[in-house]
């Protein structure tokens, strides 16, 4: 008997069902296992194929997922990856993303259980993005690419099935968001005039990483007219203005997604990423008087009392506290668009790299599999 067969004999580790796609899907829906969409039945054979890309003991938790603190073992994660439709070679990225979002500073408990609509956004950098065919170009946040759709979905299924983020029980989102089905992209490094995100965060270019952000959906920045860096950045900063954002009262790390054409214009104007961040932070500020009277008196004057306890209505409130906290990435295809992604606020982005058993960076998933 294989190691997997042995593990599946444990109490509750598996169930017997007729080999009938519709019946199995009815069963999963009845038990509340999933996201409402049809799943691929996680048979022993399929789960075994997924686990071929796992370098850890299959039954030892790599993390515990809140709010129910379910043990994320490779075995359970593999079952969810199969359900989501992942190819086996995607599995290392799923494990990496789950490990990253279970770091304490990410505050996955808050992100899972809050009434806010946030979802973990996973941004993939490095050679693995291309190896797995993760879309970083046209419609990268949208449908149509197998890797983006299924790895992102596997993350959600793990958060629900292992973590217990079941709507109205463990996930109290007032109305949630479409990003809760799947929210994974790669940075378009080839089209970026700047260093990629993972290099900025201290990893070598040849490393492959996942960065997770507790994020809202992307909000579009349309600018077909500006010909200069300051023009594009002024429009971007104007789009960031938001009296209803969580980020104002936290040291938040929102994401500024530049479309390649906007990024090129900004970089051509001599702006580094640090310059662009500084511009956005300085210009994305709302006068206190643009907030409601109650928000001024009960929230801003209380939570940020050092600055606003006695401030006049013309005092400026930055949408992001510190310029260096703005995460800049280049994503997308042709078109004069960018996007701004606010966050849950009480969360810090986490980046993790794919490594071999010897601790070195894995340059590909195949290298990772070989160890």
């Amino acid at each position: 008997m294989s190691g997997l067969a042995q593990l599946l004999k444990a109490d509750g580790a598996s169930l017997e069902a007729d080999d009938d796609f519709e019946a199995i899907n009815r069963l999963y829906l009845e038990r509340g296992w999933g996201d409402g969409l049809p799943i691929v039945p996680p048979t022993e054979k399929r789960v075994g194929q997924m686990l071929a890309y796992c370098d850890r003991p299959w039954s030892e938790p790599i993390a515990k997922i809140p709010p129910c603190w379910g043990e994320a073992t490779p075995l359970r994660l593999a079952a969810n990856a199969v359900m989501a439709g992942c190819r086996p070679e995607y599995f290392p990225l799923l494990m990496l993303a789950i490990e990253a979002m279970c770091e304490e500073r990410f505050n996955l408990y808050g992100i899972q259980a809050t009434t806010h609509l946030c979802a973990p956004l996973a941004i993939v950098n490095g050679p693995v993005a291309q190896e797995l065919g993760i879309n970083s170009g046209h419609n990268a946040f949208g449908p149509g690419t197998h890797a983006n759709a299924t790895i992102g979905r596997a993350i959600r299924l793990a958060l629900v099935n292992i973590g217990g983020a079941i709507p109205q029980k463990g996930d109290m989102a007032t109305f949630g968001s479409p990003a809760k089905y799947s929210y994974l992209v790669a940075e378009n490094e080839a089209a970026s005039p700047w260093e990629p995100l993972h290099v900025e965060r201290g990893f070598p270019a040849e490393a492959s990483t996942v960065t997770v952000v507790g994020a809202e959906c992307p909000h579009n920045v349309n600018d077909h007219e500006s010909l200069t860096a300051t023009g594009i950045l002024t429009t971007f900063a104007g789009t960031m203005l938001n009296a209803g954002t969580n980020d104002t009262c936290y040291e938040a790390q929102p994401v500024a997604v530049f479309g390649p054409e906007h990024a090129k214009t900004v970089a051509h104007g001599g702006y580094t990423k640090a310059d662009a961040r500084r511009f956005l932070q300085e210009h994305a500020q709302l006068p206190l008087g643009k907030f409601s009277h109650e928000n001024i008196e009960r929230r801003l004057r209380v939570k940020l009392k050092e600055r606003y306890a006695t401030a006049g209505l013309d005092a400026l409130v930055p949408m992001v506290q510190r310029a260096e906290d703005i995460i800049i990435v280049v994503i997308g295809g042709a078109g004069k668009h960018s996007a701004f992604i606010p966050t849950f606020g009480a969360t810090q982005a986490v980046t993790r790299a794919l490594t071999r058993r010897d601790g070195g960076f894995a340059h590909s998933v195949e290298e990772f599999r070989r160890g």
Partner: protein
């Protein structure tokens, strides 16, 4: 709260109605399924001072009952 309850102190979680299931689930997850929930009406945000006092008035009898039960 979990630790206080496990040490035998009077402890409870104040919870509004839509969060009852989450509260019960969490108390089970943390190994204290009998941790009391003090239930108050929803919502909690955007309340006037008078409404906050109303929530407190809903909670007080439940807290007193927990203390009475503990002393018996």
């Amino acid at each position: 709260m979990t630790q206080m309850h496990k040490r035998g102190l009077v402890a409870a979680v104040i919870c509004s109605d839509p969060f009852r299931t989450l509260g019960k689930t969490q108390s089970r997850v943390f190994g204290v399924p009998d941790l009391p929930l003090v239930m108050i009406p929803h919502p909690l945000g955007g309340l006037s001072i008078e409404q906050v006092e109303g929530r407190a008035l809903a909670a007080i009898p439940q807290v007193l009952e927990l203390i009475r039960a503990h002393l018996q």
